[in-house]
């Protein structure tokens, strides 16, 4: 479904990604982890072309992200993305946040889009919040709306860029619960996160990054059971013992 092939990226002279290769199969959940500054967020933003890269290519459902002729907006509309800081549109209420792209990009009618929005809000437990503005919601609620907004496009895969990092601890679970449910329904997911509990529960594979390289790419059991690299061992011991 998502094939990342030998991606390298530079910011000027500084190399942020070095020869990264991995993939996410259909209905697979891949968790990407690693210390901050290791390039995980940059890598996931390359998948839908939000960040340009200089070498390599990424294929989503067989379509090249780097090729000149690719219709990027169309490609992006098929991949849902959830951000660390939610990025709901603050000048629109919850319903409009969810219907905007359905109407503008998919050409759905106002009515159809609203129905879809309300069904998804119900699913993430936020039916009551439909007329409110993002500023009136808690972080956890905003992130659930953001997930609903992405799902409204009927995506073939979902990208999560540290979806719980900006949340207060008591709100993390309400967001993770929605993500676990999605994973169990068979959604194809690539998730950048430090939530190792989530990884243990639903991930199929874990990708460990350090200094812009993919250091380890293993089945979940292998990664947690017997990590091969020294860096991954260190990282796990730091993140699991607090």
């Amino acid at each position: 479904m998502i094939e990342i092939k030998n991606i390298s990226k530079w910011y000027g002279a500084f190399r942020v990604l070095t020869d990264c290769t991995t993939k996410v199969d259909k209905s697979e959940v891949v968790v990407v982890c690693g210390p901050s500054g290791s390039g995980k967020s940059t890598l996931i933003k390359c998948v839908n072309g939000l960040e340009p890269f200089q070498q390599g290519d990424i294929f989503v459902d067989g379509i090249s992200v780097a090729a000149k002729g690719t219709n990027l907006p169309k490609l992006r509309s098929r991949i849902g993305m959830v951000f660390q800081n939610f990025e709901l549109f603050p000048h629109m209420n919850v319903t409009d946040n969810i219907t905007l792209a359905q109407i503008k990009v998919l050409g759905r009618s106002q009515e159809e889009a609203r129905e879809k929005a309300h069904a998804l809000l119900k699913r993430v437990g936020l039916s009551e919040q439909a007329p409110k503005y993002p500023g009136q919601l808690s972080g956890g609620q905003q992130q659930r709306v953001a997930i609903a907004r992405a799902l409204a496009m009927d995506p073939i895969a979902m990208l999560f860029d540290e979806p719980t990092s900006a949340l207060d601890p008591e709100m993390i679970n309400e967001v993770l619960d929605v993500m676990v449910e999605l994973a169990q329904e068979g959604m194809t997911m690539m998730v950048v996160t430090h939530e190792m509990g989530f990884a243990r529960k639903v991930a199929h594979r874990v990708v460990f990054m350090d200094e812009g390289r993919i250091v380890e790419d293993a089945a979940k059991e292998d990664f947690f059971g017997k990590p091969r690299s020294e860096r991954a061992v260190q990282f796990l011991s730091k993140i699991l013992h607090h």
Binding site: L50, P73, S77, M81, F83, E87, F89, L100, A101, V105
Partner: protein, 229 residues
């Protein structure tokens, strides 16, 4: 007190000065609208990656911002008819008249200032918002119109209005092309009746009242906006 002053002259010439005020307000309003529209286009050009767009826009803004407004008004009033004659080859071609020259001059001049305000406004919208809009499949145009510009303009309303207040004061310069705005009207009455002190005092008072209440409104808007945020 005030013996020898005749404040009655103000009451007598009020309708005439009222007309002048309507002209000032109309010109301010129209050039603000035009200036904001053209300024937005210029701002988008300046922010564009392509040199063919951002270099001319940058040149335009820098040129107009380093030129006195009065000179821009002169250019349009005197040069446009000359240019029209040259282009059409008709030695009797008429210009576009003082009102339209002034309107175009003000619009183009203000656009340069609005461009910089709007450019800063667009840059004040967090990058994550742009990413979120693109990630949903919106095109550049859709993301601008629906997500970025609405937020940018909301942040900019106070400073756009403040620029409007400056523009309102600047409209008094139209006397150089023979138009009669509020200031021009007051000045003409003052000269005609020899009542300079009374009328210039009155004009100052009126400008103060208009501009002060407008700035007060801007402050109120700002306070209200910050609470709602």
């Amino acid at each position: 007190m005030f013996t020898g002053f005749d404040f009655d002259v103000i009451a007598r010439s009020l309708p005439y000065m009222g007309q002048g005020m309507l002209f000032s307000l109309g010109l301010t309003f129209l050039s603000m609208l035009g200036g904001i529209f053209l300024g937005t286009v210029l701002a988008l050009m300046r922010l564009a990656r392509f040199k063919v767009l951002n270099v001319p826009a940058g040149g335009y803004v820098n040129l107009l911002r380093s030129t006195p407004l009065i000179l821009v008004i002169f250019w349009f009033y005197f040069l446009v008819p000359l240019a029209l004659k040259k282009i059409s080859g008709d030695p009797y071609a008429q210009g576009i008249g003082p009102f339209y020259s002034a309107l175009i001059a003000f619009t183009m001049f203000e656009a340069a200032y609005y461009c910089e305000i709007i450019r800063a406004g667009i840059q004040s919208v967090p990058r994550g918002q742009v990413h979120a809009a693109y990630a949903l499949g919106l095109t550049y145009g859709q993301a601008m119109m629906k997500v970025i510009l609405p937020q940018a303009f909301r942040n900019m309303v106070p400073i756009l209005l403040t620029q409007g207040i400056i523009l309102f004061q600047d409209t008094s310069l139209v006397y150089v092309v023979g138009l009669t705005d509020f200031m021009g009207a007051a000045s003409k009455v003052a000269q005609r009746d020899g009542r300079l002190v009374e009328l210039y005092l009155f004009a100052a008072l009126i400008y103060f009242l208009f501009c002060f209440s407008a700035s007060y409104f801007v402050k109120w808007l700002q306070a209200r906006y910050h609470v709602g945020r």
